[in-house]
Every structure is written in C-alpha cells, then in structure tokens.
Amino acid sequence: MTDPRASDLLSTTIISTCYDDALARDGELLVLAGDEVVLLSPLASELVWSARHGATLAETVAHLMSTFGAPEGADPEAMVRDLVIELAARGVLELR
C-alpha cells in the first residue's frame, strides 16, 4: 500500500480542503495543517481556495486555466495532479 499518486487521480476525484487554519494576504495563503505550517504559492493558493467547498479535478484544472492561462510547454492537468498530490501529502487537501 502507498499514499495516492498523481496517476491515481481521476478527473472526477473530489478535492477538498482539510487544514485547521489559514491566513490570506496578497493572493497567497498560509495554512496550518496538523502541526505543520505551509506557505503556498499563488497557484497553490488559488487551487486550495477553489477547493474550499469541494471540486473535481477537472473543475480545478479548468478554474486554474481560466485564472492563470495555460502553462508554457507543460501539460496543465499533469501539473495540477502533481500539485494536488503534494498538498494532500502535506495534509492541506483530502481526496475522495
């Protein structure tokens, strides 16, 4: 058994937040999850904000594409998958 991997995520996987507290300023989020504090990049902050009421992976990718535009030379969905997995490992997001 392992933690979920990027390849395990489906477009219908529900992403939601599970942190304990957060501060927002200038487009960035600082979150407390368990006893760890994580300062999120603007992209990660927007992702977490968009998942506050739960969102599918497909909805999240679409939202970030509309907010930031398509990344140059990279697959946007693959980028979002990696970011979601990293945030889940930090206890900021949970996946269903």
Partner: protein, 466 residues
C-alpha cells in the same frame, strides 16, 4: 492528527518484513521506556513492515536477541504498513537510510518525520538540549538535517541475512533505545503513580513563566545538588514561605551508584551520576514541562529576550543552538534579562523566564554548565513587561561585519515564526494569534549578523528610541 500534551507520542519502527530488526527495536525501546517509568500513554512504540506478511511470526533469532537484552518477545505478530498506520504516527524510525527512502517513496507524507537510527543519533547529538515538547522534535530535527550531510549510515542489515553480525546489530539497537529513552523521558511529566514511591529530599519551588514546579533533590548527592540548583536558578526560585501549590514535580537524583540511579529512574526521576549532568538535563525538563502546562494559554516562542528600563521587550526568535544564549549574555549586560530560551506572551504582556544560561566551559567536555544570570551579572528587567519588537535571528558564520535589519513580508514572517512556536495548534486562534501579535509589534524583522557583540548598538533602533 492530534498533537500536544496529554496525547501519546507515537513512534513507529519501520523495516521490510517486520520479523527482525523492527520488532527488536520496538521491544527494546519499550524495555528502556519502562525502565524510565514512561507509560505507553505517554510514548507508544509499535512497528510495521513495508513488505510484511500480516500475522507472520517473529524470527527465532530476533526473539532470542530481544530476551537476551532484557525485552519481552511475547505476543508479537508482523503487520504491514498501511496509510492508516502512517496517519497516526508522529515519528518513523528505520534501521537504514535505504528503508527510510523507500518509506518516503511509498508514503511521501512521511518525508519530514522519517529518520534512520544513525540520523536520529547524529541530529540529537548536535542539539542535545532541544527544549521543546516531544511532539515538536520530528519537525525540528527535519529542519536541522536540511542541507546537511549525515556522516554515518549504520550497517543494520536484516536479522534474517545477518548471521554472525546479529548480536552486534541487536547491541546497537539496544544502546540506541536506552539512549533515546533517557533523552525523551526527561521531557515528560513524571507518572502520577510515582508520587507515592518518591522519597522526600531537599525540595524547593521554581517559577517558570508562571508555572510553579517543585524540584525534589534525592540521592547521596542531594545536598550539593540542591545548593547548585538553587544557585543556578536563583532568579526563578520562589520564596520558601510561598504557600502556593505546585503544578508539577521533578525528582532529580544524583548518586554514584548505578543501582540507585536505576531505581530512581524506575519511579520517574531524572537520575545522573553527577551534579553537572543533572543541572544540564533539568534545564530542558523544566522548560518543556512548563510549556506543556501552558499549552493553549500562552503564546510561547523559541526566543531569547531582553527589556529596556521602561519594560519594553525585544524578542530574538531562533531555533536551539543558533546563538540565543550568546546574544542574551551580551545584551543582558546592559538590558534586563528576560529569557534565553522561551518567550512567553499573553496578549501584549511578557511573562519572564530568567532561567540559567548554558555556557560552554572548556574543562567539561560535551556538557555545557548552567550559570545563573546573577553569577553572570545580567541586568534585572522591570516588573511590568510589554512586547515591543520581534526579531528573527539569522546568524551566519560568513555574515557581515556590520549587522543589518530587514523587514519580512507578513505571511513569510509568520511562516518562519510558526516554526519556532510551541503548541501553535492548541492556541484558540492559531495562526491568527501569531498574525495579531506580529501586527501589534509593527511587523517582523530579520537580523543578519555574525558576531553577537555587534548587535548591541542596534538596540536603540529595535526599541524605537531613534
């Protein structure tokens, strides 16, 4: 994951099959914790295997080695590591760095909490006086290992493959278990059942940021120990006539006899062969137990602090072993000494903790001596202390001749401050308490310097006096 005082610190020993090294580590660490009267409700030790077959029996050689080292091999069956076990673990220990790396590959969320045994030993050796609650140690140790090369990777192969080396492997695990149990037990409250067995020695009360703690000196060295402790803790000593109840008791035993020391440890005492070691470990024990007692009620930062005559306090935030005490000695000659370790804040007020300072003395190898702020002639702060400024220390060996200050963006500053905050998750308003405190003192400042003496001329600026 629940964190904090009153919740067991959960240690998981991870290996491959969970029939050899892992169970040996589990049972010998339990043995050593038991010898220090630490119950499973305070530290819970279990094991699991990355490729274990659930229900597999202990390897016969592992069972023999556990018993040979005074452990209990009964009732063990192997279990495989699952996400559920990972989610309820505070720290993961492995025999080798290869197992640690495989653990992190399969369970990335363990990355900041997984250590090989040799790594743990080396990191703790570099920071023997981590004065922080046990639950905070994994992240503190993880920050210490960033950008650092661990010199040694102990050769602890599987018991199943080791043949002639099995006894050597078990001996190393046994020694590490005993050493870790001694270190951790000093930071935990003494068990309630130990109170009845505790002899009444020379005792007195200390005040650690408002927490009244009784120190009970026992053993044949009790008188010398009591005198040395009272001297070192002169500014925290409560008057003998104080009729207030204590909140915690620390039995501190000094005796040359290993038998007496073992008996004292079995009732939860901190027990050492000489006064210097006893004072050394007492310092962390008092600090951590006081932090536990005020979890959720005070904002407690890993910081030294000094105060102006008017009672304005400047806090210098930094991890253990990065220059807080040296700075306290330099600044405390001219400004009131508030603390060199834990800055306790209630709203805009500061509760002083003028504990002894650990000073390296060339004549005592490895152990720093505890000096009273009175012996070092540090200035007294006023009675009414108000937090005026918070500074993040950044001491660099190749730093500038002239120190400089730089303002930090709010969230980045809070992120750094949070790493030096005890029991942040227990504060009612969590990150918002930190944010309000930082805004109250006009933001966070980073101080980049090389030599502590060069910081003194900056004090008027830090106090807003120019």
């Amino acid at each position: 994951m629940p964190t904090g005082a009153g919740v067991a610190f959960r240690v998981l020993i991870v290996d491959d099959l969970n029939i050899g090294r892992g169970p040996i580590g589990e049972r010998l660490l339990r043995r050593s914790l038991g010898a220090n009267a630490i119950p499973a409700s305070a530290i819970r030790v279990t094991s699991a295997g990355l490729d274990a077959r659930d229900g597999a029996k202990l390897h016969p050689e592992a069972a023999r080695l556990i018993v040979a080292h005074g452990g209990n091999a009964d009732g063990f069956i192997a279990r495989s590591l699952s996400p559920e076990i990972v989610a309820t673990t505070d720290v993961f220990l492995t025999g080798t760095s290869q197992i640690r790396d495989e653990l992190v590959r399969r369970f990335p969320r363990t990355a900041r909490r997984a250590f090989s045994m040799s790594e743990l030993a080396e990191l703790y050796q570099g920071a023997i006086e981590i004065a922080a609650p046990l639950h905070e140690h994994p992240l503190i140790l993880d920050r210490m290992r960033r950008g650092r090369t661990i010199a040694e990777n102990w050769d602890l192969p599987s018991i199943e493959d080791a043949d002639a080396r099995r006894d050597v492997i078990a001996e190393r695990i046994s020694e590490t278990a005993a050493w870790a149990a001694d270190l951790w037990s000093a930071l935990l409250p003494q068990p309630a059942h130990a109170a009845e067995a505790r002899p009444v020695g020379e005792h007195f009360l200390l005040d650690a940021f408002g927490v009244r703690m009784e120190v009970n000196c026992t053993g044949s060295g009790a008188r010398a120990l009591s005198a040395a402790t009272r001297r070192a803790w002169s500014r925290c000593l409560m008057p003998a006539s104080t009729e207030t109840q204590h909140e915690d008791v620390i039995e501190l035993c000094v005796d040359p006899s290993p038998t007496v020391l073992a008996t004292a440890r079995s009732r939860g005492a901190l027990a050492y062969p000489d006064v210097e070691q006893a004072l050394h470990y007492l310092s962390s024990a008092v600090t951590v137990r006081a932090i536990d007692a005020r979890a959720g009620r005070l904002l407690m930062l890993h910081a030294s602090a000094v105060a102006s005559r008017e009672g304005d306090v400047v806090g210098f935030v930094a991890p253990s072993g990065t220059g807080k005490t040296t700075l306290s000695r330099i600044l405390g000659a001219h400004y009131g000494y508030v603390t060199d370790e834990t800055l306790a804040i209630a709203g805009d007020r500061v509760v002083p903790y003028p504990k002894p300072l650990s000073v390296i003395t060339e004549s005592h190898h490895g152990i720093k001596l505890q000096w009273s702020p009175d012996s070092l002639d540090l200035a007294l702060p006023g009675r009414d202390l108000r937090l005026a400024r918070l500074v993040l220390l950044d001491r660099r060996p190749d730093g500038p001749d002239e120190p400089y200050l730089e303002e930090l963006p709010h969230l980045r500053g809070i992120a750094e401050l949070a790493e030096q905050t005890s029991y942040l998750p227990r504060l009612a308003r969590k990150l918002h308490t930190l944010s309000d405190t930082v805004e109250m003192v006009g933001g966070l400042t980073r101080l980049v310097y090389r030599e502590a003496a060069t910081v003194l001329p900056l004090m008027p600026e830090l106090l807003g006096e120019r």
